[in-house]
Amino acid sequence: MKRRKQRILMAKAMGVILTVMTFLILYVPILLILMLSLNDSARGYQWEGFTLKWYAMLFLDDIMKDPIVNTISIAILSTIISTILGTIFAIGIHALEKKRRVRMMVMNNVPVVNPDIVTGISLMIIFSILSFTLGFSTVLIAHVFFSIPYVILNIIPKLKRLDPNLYEAGLDLGCSRIEAVWRVIIPNISTGILTGALMAFTMSIDDFVITYFTSGNEYMNVSTWLYAALAREGRNSFTPVAYAYNTIIFLLTIIIIVFVNTRKERKVRTHEKSTCFTP
């Protein structure tokens, strides 16, 4: 018995140690980026004191203006488009009979499993066959393309949990087919739509590989701009404004997600409360 206890204790200790290691390996680079954004040195070879000037430059200086504007506008537009399309497609896929639904989901998951580099090259090739000029529109299409599967994957489980008669109840009470989707289905899968949209946004804003292959020479987002700067001049060639930008986007994402999650939880909790009061 004593030996068993010892073994369990050891297993637990191992779990704790490995978890600490995991968080170290994930967070050390993040902390370093944070420090670099606060470091009073353009080259960043060593710590030269605290400053906020890179943050000020981010807003006052034009140095990274174009890539930042591009990144944010692509992220917002592709999130909106892929969320709308993904929601419609998910509802359609869910309505299919099982065999076809599974087949559609298998196809849906191709871009999820496929390595980014393969997806990027596939898109680049189709764009050149269709003789699209690489730039804003091709990057937007590419981002919509890789976001839709994630939106669908987030929505399908919510649809599965719905009572299949719910939509018909809407029709029965006087909705047209489209009205019933809007008034009955959408409100009941809204959490799935929201998490899908958040996922699409976070992936678009940080994407490098797919943008790299579909943006051409002129159009750049922050990632491809950084890559070009590194390739052009080698190490330490870009301004610490990039660290400041990344830190702000990073914190913004955390704030949005925390906000959305606490709101969701509060909703659930008020629900539970009223349940408690049921006689």
């Binding site: 008669n165 018909e168 029965d172 009470l173 009205e179």
Partner: protein, 347 residues
């Protein structure tokens, strides 16, 4: 009873290779409480969905108030449905669920409020309007589902096993209330169930179905007392079914004995099925009885005993209030009116 309101003419419907409804014909009168009764998978829900407009027939016509409505959308029909498991909108509270249809009709606000409150009173849910759906009990959700449908004042209300999820006591209470509601509202109810007791209690007319076909249409009394065939007899109540021969009018032979009966119009020596309900057997002293046997088992069922009697190697089921010991020798008698003779099914 009023005029024909809905008529199904020669309706067929298949899903893939599975024929769900096979040349289906029946009609529903105004203000009628009609029940489609049958085992699960017999096509009764599909039939209801065709009337509601959620499926379209492959063949045949659905006629409502003299007009063919095959291709009408559900929202264009003066028919509302109370769904299995209710299908209440989880994102809306009680009031908004019930007001859903009225709001779509763009009625003035005051009228909506009035009608919702009236209906809430009718289903005995006064004061529940602000409650969230997830906080209601099964019985309360059931009432909201009915209220949500009848607030629109449809001509027909379709109910798909609405009491299936409730416990026995509540179910019996609701049966009575539903019947009462149908009388006061004067709406035609089309009710789907697999529970024969429910069907017998509430209906004006019962349609018995199996494998996409109608087996019998009639009042509950007709169907219980004069089942048309073996399946109906078996499905409605418990039955002892014997194979026999109709010797002549009013005389039938089964289990090698001849019995007087009230049936006529069969061929001479036609093979028939004979049904005797368990409660129609009486115990008599063995010396006076045509059928003699030994009590095999006895179960107390509350109101009555269920006694199995072994006669010539065959078990007879009897419902009686009289007590007999296992192993007793008993005689059985049956009145001529209680012997139901049916044509043998060709199968």
């Amino acid at each position: 009873m009023g005029k024909k309101l809905i008529e199904l003419k020669n309706i067929s419907k298949s899903f893939g290779d599975l024929v769900v409804l096979d040349h289906f014909n029946f009609y529903i009168n105004e203000n009628e409480f009609i029940t489609l009764l049958g085992p699960s998978g017999c096509g009764k829900t599909t039939c209801l969905r065709l009337i509601g407009g959620f499926e379209t027939p492959d063949d045949g016509e659905i006629i409502f108030d003299g007009k063919v409505i095959n291709d009408l959308e559900p929202n264009q029909r003066e028919i509302n449905t109370c769904f299995q498991k209710y299908a209440l909108f989880p994102h809306l509270n009680v009031f908004d669920n019930i007001a859903f249809g009225l709001k779509l009709k763009k009625l003035p606000k005051t009228e909506i409020v009035d009608r919702v409150h009236q209906t809430l009173k009718l289903v005995k849910l006064d004061g529940f309007q602000d409650r969230h759906i997830s906080t209601l009990s099964g019985g309360q959700q059931q009432r909201v589902a009915i209220a949500r449908a009848i607030v629109n004042r449809p001509k027909v209300l379709l109910l798909d096993e609405p009491l299936g999820a409730l416990d026995l006591k509540l179910r019996q209470e609701m049966q009575y209330e539903l019947k009462e509601m149908q009388r006061t509202l004067g709406i035609t109810f089309v009710y789907v169930t697999h529970d024969q007791e429910e069907a017998l209690t509430m209906s004006d007319t019962i349609v018995i179905m199996n494998e996409g076909k109608i087996l019998q249409i009639g009042t509950p009394e007709d169907i219980y007392n004069e089942p048309k065939n073996r399946f109906v007899a078996n499905f409605i109540g418990e039955s002892n079914i014997f194979e026999g021969i109709m010797i002549e009018d009013y005389l039938v032979k089964f289990v090698d004995r001849e019995f007087k009966c009230v049936d006529k119009g069969f061929h001479l020596n036609e093979a028939v099925d004979v049904v005797i309900r368990p409660e129609d057997f009486d115990f008599v002293p063995p010396s006076k009885a045509k059928i003699k046997g030994i009590v095999d088992s006895l179960t107390f069922k509350g109101v009555h005993y269920e006694i199995n009697v072994m006669v010539d190697g065959r078990e007879y089921t009897i419902h009686t209030t009289k007590y007999r010991e296992v192993g007793d020798r008993v005689g059985l008698s049956v009145e001529p009116e209680s012997i139901h003779v049916m044509r043998r099914q060709r199968s």
